[in-house]
C-alpha cells in the first residue's frame, strides 16, 4: 500500500509568526544601521565647523610661522614642534617598556599573586584620569627626580599615561596568535624566547604597532599632564627651526596653545584657535590613517 504523500502546503506559507519575525528583523537592522551612521555625523560636523572657521588662517605658513603680536597673530611653529618632541619622546620611553611588559604578562606570567597585582595595576592605571597623571608627574619627575619643568618631565608623564594602554593593546595582539603555534615550537625543544622571537612577535607586530600609534593621538591631545610638568604659555623659537628645544627646556604644545588662545589671550584673531585645532586634529588624523595603512599592509602579509 502506497504511503499518502506528506502534506506540502503550509511549510513555506507566510504565517503571522513569519511576518512578525521579518518585521522585527528589518527594524533591528534599521536601528543598528542608524546608530552606526549617527556616529559619523558628529565627526563631520566637528571637522566641517572647524575648517570653515579656520579657513582664513589655514596655510602651510601658519604651521611654520611663530606667534606674533602677543600671540594674537602669526603661526604655531613652537607649539607644533613642541608636541612632536613630547609625543615622540614619550612613546620612545613607553613603547619598549610596554611591549616587553606585555610579552612577560602574556607569555611568561603564571597565575600567582605577583602577576595578579601587576594586572590589577595595569587595569587601574589605564583608568586614572589625566589630571591625576599630571599631579603624579609634577611630584615624581619635576620635584622628586629634579628634572624640573621640562620636556623630559612632561614626556615621562605622558609615557606613564600611555603605558597601561600600550600594555593592554599589545597583550591583545599577542593573544591573537594561536596557542597551537606555541605548542608546536615547544614540542620541538624551543624555549619560550625562541618561540616568541620566531613566531609570536612577527605575527603580532601589526597589532602591536597599531596600538602604539593610536596612543600618539592620545598623547598629542592631552593638555593637563603637559601643562603641569613642562609646557609653557610662550617660548621664543626661530621660524621653522626643527631643533629649538633641549630636553631640559620647557616647550610649547599644541593642546596647551589651543587652550591659552581660547581662554587666556585677549583680542586673538578669531580664526587662530580654530586653525590650531585643525592642525592638531589633522596631525592626529594623519597619524591614525598611517596606522590603518600600516595595518592593512601588514595584514596583507598575514601568514595563516
Amino acid at each position: 500500500m502506497a504511503l499518502a504523500p506528506a502534506p506540502t502546503t503550509g511549510r513555506f506559507a507566510r504565517t503571522p509568526h513569519v511576518a512578525r519575525k521579518e518585521r522585527a528583523e528589518k527594524l533591528a537592522r534599521a536601528v543598528f544601521a542608524a546608530m552606526a551612521a549617527a556616529m559619523v555625523v558628529p565627526l563631520l560636523l566637528i571637522v566641517g565647523y572647524l575648517v570653515w572657521l579656520a579657513w582664513p588662517t589655514l596655510s602651510l605658513e601658519f604651521i611654520l610661522d611663530v606667534p606674533r603680536r602677543g600671540m594674537t597673530d602669526g603661526g604655531i611653529w613652537p607649539a607644533f614642534v613642541g608636541t612632536l618632541y613630547l609625543v615622540g619622546l614619550s612613546l620612545l620611553v613607553s613603547t619598549p617598556i610596554g611591549v616587553m611588559a606585555a610579552v612577560y604578562l602574556n607569555e611568561y606570567a603564571r597565575d600567582n599573586w605577583f602577576n595578579r597585582v601587576v594586572n590589577l595595576a595595569v587595569i587601574n592605571l589605564a583608568g586614572v584620569p589625566s589630571i591625576v597623571h599630571a599631579l603624579f608627574g609634577l611630584g615624581a619627575f619635576v620635584y622628586a627626580a629634579r628634572f624640573g619643568y621640562s620636556i623630559l618631565s612632561a614626556a615621562l608623564t605622558l609615557a606613564i599615561m600611555t603605558l597601561p594602554v600600550i600594555i593592554a593593546s599589545t597583550r591583545e595582539a599577542l593573544a591573537s596568535v594561536p596557542i597551537a603555534f606555541r605548542e608546536a615550537c615547544w614540542n620541538v625543544g624551543a624555549t619560550r624566547w625562541q618561540t616568541i622571537r620566531a613566531v609570536v612577535l612577527p605575527n603580532s607586530i601589526s597589532g602591536i604597532l597599531t596600538g602604539v600609534i593610536l596612543q600618539v593621538s592620545r598623547a598629542a591631545g592631552e593638555t593637563a599632564p603637559v601643562m603641569f610638568t613642562g609646557a609653557v604659555f610662550y617660548k621664543s623659537v626661530a621660524r621653522g627651526d626643527l631643533f629649538p628645544y633641549a630636553l631640559t627646556d620647557q616647550c610649547m604644545a599644541l593642546s596647551m596653545h589651543l587652550y591659552t588662545l581660547a581662554t587666556q589671550v585677549p583680542n586673538v584673531k578669531e580664526s587662530l584657535p580654530y586653525a590650531t585645532a585643525v592642525v592638531l586634529l589633522g596631525s592626529v588624523l594623519v597619524v591614525n590613517a598611517s596606522a590603518i595603512a600600516l595595518r592593512v599592509f601588514l595584514r596583507g602579509r598575514k601568514k595563516w
Binding site: 597565575d111 603555534f181 605548542e183 608546536a184 615547544w186 614540542n187 625543544g189 601568514k303 595563516w304
Partner: protein
C-alpha cells in the same frame, strides 16, 4: 629493552584528576598504540612524556616517567628531552614560516646554523614524511598555505627534524583524508626500523594495522596492555576491551 617506563603516573588539572596512576612500558623499535575514547587522558599522557605539561599552569603531575632510564622530572636539560621525542599534534600545524623554515626551526633552535647541514636535514625530513616531491620546488612558500594533509606531513617532517629517537603521534589522522592517512602509515612502518613509535589513536583499525602492542586507556586508567594481535583477535582479557575494539561502545 625499555625505552619509556611509566610508573604510577597521576595527573590533575586543579582538583580534577585525569590520570589515576597509570603504568606501562614501551620497548625499543616497537609501535605502541594507545587506544581509548575521548577524554580518557591519552593526550595528557603524551604531554607528560616530553614535559610540555609544564606549560599548563594548573597541571599537577606525580609518579615517575623515565625515558631511556632518565627521570623526565629530574632531567637537567628539558629541551634535549623534547628533542629526543618527536611530537605530532592532532590538528596539522604549519608554523607561519616558509616550508624550509618550518623544518629548519628545531635544528636552528638547537644551535645548528650551517646552511649545508640545514639543507640536508630539510630534504631528509621532507622525504621521510613523503612530502619532498610535492614541495621541493617551493620551499620558500608559506607552510600555512599547504593543504591540510600536506601540513600534517609537514608537521611530521618538523617532528623528525630534531632527530628524535621516539616519535609520538596524537590522533594524527583525524583532520586528513584516507589516502594521506595511508601514506603516513606507510611512512610510520618505515620509521619503525630506526625509532620507537607511540601511536595515540581512537581508530581501533589503525592501531590494529600498525601496532605491535596496544594499551587500552579508559577514564584515566589502564584497562589492558597486550600484544595487538591478542587485543584485536577477540582474545582480550577484559570484557571492556573486547567491547571497545569490537565497537560495542566508544
Amino acid at each position: 629493552m625499555k625505552r619509556i617506563e611509566v610508573q604510577g603516573l597521576r595527573l590533575a588539572y586543579d582538583s580534577k584528576e585525569v590520570l589515576h596512576g597509570i603504568s606501562f612500558d614501551v620497548y625499543h623499535n616497537e609501535i605502541f598504540a594507545v587506544i581509548g575514547p575521548a577524554q580518557s587522558g591519552k593526550s595528557s599522557m603524551l604531554r607528560c612524556l616530553n614535559r610540555t605539561i609544564d606549560f599548563t599552569a594548573n597541571a599537577k603531575m606525580s609518579g615517575t616517567v623515565r625515558v631511556d632510564g632518565e627521570d623526565v622530572r629530574r632531567t637537567r636539560d628539558v629541551y634535549a628531552l623534547r628533542r629526543k621525542i618527536g611530537m605530532v599534534a592532532p590538528l596539522p600545524v604549519g608554523l607561519p614560516l616558509t616550508i624550509y623554515d618550518n623544518v629548519a626551526f628545531a635544528p636552528r633552535a638547537a644551535g645548528l646554523s650551517g646552511k649545508a647541514d640545514l639543507d640536508a636535514i630539510v630534504e631528509r625530513c621532507l622525504r621521510q614524511a613523503a612530502l619532498w616531491d610535492e614541495v621541493k620546488d617551493r620551499l620558500a612558500n608559506l607552510g600555512t598555505a599547504l593543504s591540510g594533509g600536506q601540513q600534517q606531513r609537514l608537521t611530521i617532517a618538523r617532528a623528525l627534524s630534531h632527530q628524535p629517537e621516539i616519535l609520538c603521534l596524537d590522533e594524527f589522522s583525524i583532520a586528513i583524508d584516507p589516502v594521506t592517512t595511508m601514506r603516513i602509515e606507510d611512512v610510520l612502518k618505515e620509521l619503525r626500523r630506526e625509532m620507537t613509535i607511540v601511536l595515540v589513536t581512537n581508530l581501533t583499525q589503525q592501531a590494529r594495522r600498525l601496532s605491535d602492542r596496544t594499551m587500552f586507556l579508559l577514564d584515566g586508567e589502564v584497562v589492558e596492555i597486550d600484544r595487538s594481535d591478542v587485543i584485536f583477535s577477540g582474545a582480550a582479557k577484559s570484557k571492556r576491551t573486547k567491547d571497545y575494539v569490537s565497537g560495542v561502545f566508544g
